[in-house]
Symmetry: C2
DNA sequence: ACAAGCATGTAACGTGTTACATGATTTT
DNA sequence: AAAATCATGTAACACGTTACATGCTTGT
């Protein structure tokens, strides 16, 4: 019989959401609602979460002593919890930030999975699918580029020790990624059209 | 009181693994072990799964009547299950393949999350982190390019109606993606080094 | 008065990972 | 004989989504 690993199991304990929250609260005190806005606006190009995941995590981090909250009133009755990071939380966050991670597994991508199965696609659907994807990617790129044009850092490059610099580089990365997606799709479409003309695939 | 949605809940019912399996088995009959090899070799650049997820899914698809298996012997005693797709399975797979999907949410990326928090990083860690990531990405690109050089389709471009073509375009996409990652990291490193020289950030 | 947005939570379920568990066959 | 690979499964848990649920505040 093999030696068994007694003691509690490990299992998927990256807790990345935990560190995303700590990092944001480390910048300034925030409510859960404020955090949600960050996730849906600034972090959306590399992380996201629903509020149903966020609130329980905030409770957990409070129990772990990494954040604390004070209840503040909005108007007469509406209570909201303003969270701030503790010294322990700051320590834990900075140690995560300094850790060198191995490359993550390649992210899953449904469109590429379908592209992999292109030979099973009905001939008349192939170009339709690629164009549909391309249109959506182009639309997204337009939005990212508009955000970049309004970005304070892009307008006035200065000190990289500012939250603006982090925001700027990930936005630049998102734009580069989207341009590459568009390049790839465009090349695929060209190849497919050429094959069509040369009768390298059956009638539609 | 609001109108409630009675009937069963929906909740995360993409079942993409299901279609990945159907697509592979649609090409030819395979065992669970064979499928795992596909996931870790050919599909690894856009989908992945552990065998602990695969085997239960195969059982589920069998119960749903989308695949069937026949037990074959390997040697004297070792039984393996050779799965093939049913007509119903083929129908379900093709209908998934033809469906036009909205853009997925941007995939999560731990490194970009850390990059977003660059202002909180210890000055002497910043370049170390970016170089570490760059080295890993370069290593991965080398492997992808080696795979491409040996790819049958790349050597002899012909009919796009072949499983080889799907394999080829997703591999090309993976290479383009990795080159862009490398470009992005290289640009970031250059900017950071320039800022260092110009004393745009504190001493390390 | 109404709509939009602020604010916080829970329930149920689907998806994905690590570890546990076992045994046969092939290659060195 | 040992190691690598073939082959299949389950248990426990972590992570993530959709829907359910409630109530206040601000702007029009």
């Amino acid at each position: 019989m093999k030696a068994k690993c007694l003691g509690k199991v490990a299992a998927g304990k990256m807790r990345t959401l935990k560190y995303a929250i700590l990092g944001l609260i480390n910048r300034k005190a925030m409510t859960g609602y404020d955090l949600m806005k960050e996730f849906t606006i600034d972090l959306v190009n590399f992380w996201h979460a629903q509020h149903s995941q966020l609130y329980p995590e905030l409770k957990k981090l409070t129990n772990e002593g990494l954040i604390t909250f004070e209840t503040v009133l909005q108007g007469e009755k509406l209570e909201k919890k303003l969270y701030s990071i503790t010294d322990e939380g700051k320590k834990v966050f900075l140690s995560w930030l300094a850790k060198q991670d191995p490359l993550e597994p390649t992210p899953k991508d449904i469109f590429r999975l379908k592209a992999y199965f292109i030979e099973s696609m009905r001939k008349e659907d192939i170009l339709k699918q690629f164009h549909y994807q391309l249109d959506q990617r182009k639309e997204k790129l337009v939005k990212l580029e508009a955000t970049m044009r309004q970005h304070p850092y892009a307008k006035n490059i200065a000190d990289i020790i500012s939250p603006l610099y982090g925001d700027y580089i990930v936005l630049k990365g998102a734009i580069m990624r989207e341009r590459t997606n568009i390049d790839w799709l465009t090349q695929c479409i060209k190849e497919i059209e050429k094959a069509k003309k040369n009768c390298f695939y059956g009638s539609s």
